[in-house]
Symmetry: C2
Subunit: 314 residues, 2 copies
């Protein structure tokens, strides 16, 4: 307690789990503490490979994540998991209840699991997630898995902002058309048909193949991997697909290009958030009311009123 | 022509139709000409009563507008009509083709009809419409009818920003639930069941009454008027309902309060549009690329990059 942010970050960099958790809370809050923490951590980031996992609720994403973490750990590197839930107001440890299957890792100090939720401010998660990835990256995680609870717009955006993005579907989950509608075809680097022991798995694979053939040709064709995550079936193949995708991205320079594009978007989002705060600040309060009254009284026109609002210190 | 904006506005104020049309084009474009024109016209505005008409395509809005314009003209005042179509890229005279029924007014110098369309920039119409209303108001139109082609979000917003808002439905057009879904229940000051000679008119009226009874009690209960616009049936009753609503709004002070609320929204929208331009200006060009490169190279962190972008002149 009473730790300065700098001390906290130093302790997180030394591997202290509670400090890592506190630093993640700081960056989620996004205030002065976040600035200090990120200024210290950003220079040490850039070494982790991030894997996004998205798909409908109940598709088996948590179980797949659990299995993948085991494979990632087998490579010797440490793993960070961000479980992102824009529909929940609870962050930190609060929604770990449904992550009971992850308990197999709780005794492994090389795995750090974190739940992230909205805390009520719009776009907050989309801004906070890259910062949280940056923290886990800087403190030495070699792999970072970003798992979302569903396939809402925010979740697809968040999971899509990874080095490798995995889209999980189920037999009969819906057809490939549904995946295309949700914008999943564009972001998927790898498709997983999980619960592939169920009827309809062949049809799901065929649907996805058909959609992929119809879509624009890319340098990387997303493979379709069948898994039964609960039994661990197909998870080796999935990890192999991730490794191949990583190799492709790194050898072609695509990885760096994609990261630069993500940075551009992140900066735009940061600027847009600040500018939004400014609009709110400018268009409220007594000074705003007075301006509206002047325009209503015809002693001032709307454009010069807007000039005054833009000139005002936000 | 080489007219200065000031000359053009003076000529529009003198009643010259071509000048009014040119001034409307200026305010639609929203540049320096719009500023000059509005600064001259805003002090002279505030006398017109605006009537918004919205409803599904084919509900008979144009025919109703045509009939209402005749009633309004009978009061001696001049009338301006804005036909707003966010789905069309054509402004000015271009979409007047479907306004052939309005030709009965083309020989009447007391009626000015203007089509407005998007010109491709998002939110452009929502910003431009209040300015166009201001122009018609300032040049002396006593009544301004704002007719939208459909019930999209932008159209409902535009038609709802009038002194009196009329929502037009048809028998079997859908039920009142559909109207409620589209947000029409909140904005309607008057409901019109047009084509009331068709089967299902009673059911449509009953549906609307049911929905109104379920909704929050207001000082003004929207009347439901049956019309057959093509035959002119019920249009006197509709104009009477408008007059009663106007009387209610003016006597209770609601009219001024609603106009002040619209002004607040207009100012917010003007500031938001400028701020968006600022974000675009800040997050583009060589300086932005250089900053992204610095963040990617870890010589700068995202927050201080955002600081630089915010400090930059927009």
């Amino acid at each position: 307690m009473g730790d300065t942010t700098a001390e906290l970050v130093a302790s997180a960099l030394a591997g202290d789990r509670r400090s890592i958790a506190k630093v993640l809370s700081l960056v989620e809050q996004g205030g002065e503490g976040a600035r200090t923490a990120i200024s210290m951590l950003h220079p040490r980031s850039g070494n982790a490979w991030s894997v996004g996992i998205t798909g409908a609720p109940g598709a088996g994403k948590s179980t797949l994540t659990d299995q993948l973490v085991l494979r990632m750990r087998a490579t010797g590197g440490e793993v960070g998991v961000l479980a992102v839930d824009p529909t929940s107001p609870f962050s930190g440890g609060a929604i770990l209840g449904d992550r009971v299957r992850m308990q197999s890792h709780t005794s492994d100090p090389g795995v750090f699991i974190r739940s992230m939720a909205t805390r009520g401010h719009l776009g907050g998660l989309a801004l906070a997630t890259p910062q949280a990835v940056r923290v886990l990256d800087a403190v030495g995680k070699a792999w970072i898995v970003i798992e979302t609870v569903g396939v809402g717009q925010v979740e697809v955006e968040i999971a899509g902002h990874a080095d490798t993005t995995i889209v999980v579907v189920n037999p009969g989950w819906g057809d490939a058309v549904q995946a295309a509608k949700a914008g999943l075809l564009e972001i998927a680097d790898i498709f997983v048909v999980n619960k592939a022991d169920r009827p309809g798995a062949d049809a799901a694979v065929a649907d996805l193949q058909g959609m992929l053939e119809l879509s624009a040709r890319r340098a990387w064709t997303p493979p379709i991997v069948r898994t039964v995550a609960t039994a661990g079936d197909g998870v080796d193949e999935l990890f192999e697909a991730i490794t191949q995708h990583r190799g492709h991205m790194e050898s072609t320079g695509e990885a760096a290009a994609r990261r630069a594009a993500r940075l551009r978007e992140e900066l735009r989002a940061l600027v847009a958030a600040r500018v939004e705060q400014e609009v709110d600040a400018r268009c409220s309060g007594a000074a705003f009311d007075a301006l509206v009254a002047e325009v209503a009284a015809r002693t001032r026109d709307p454009y010069t009123a807007a000039d005054v609002l833009m000139a005002k210190k936000g």
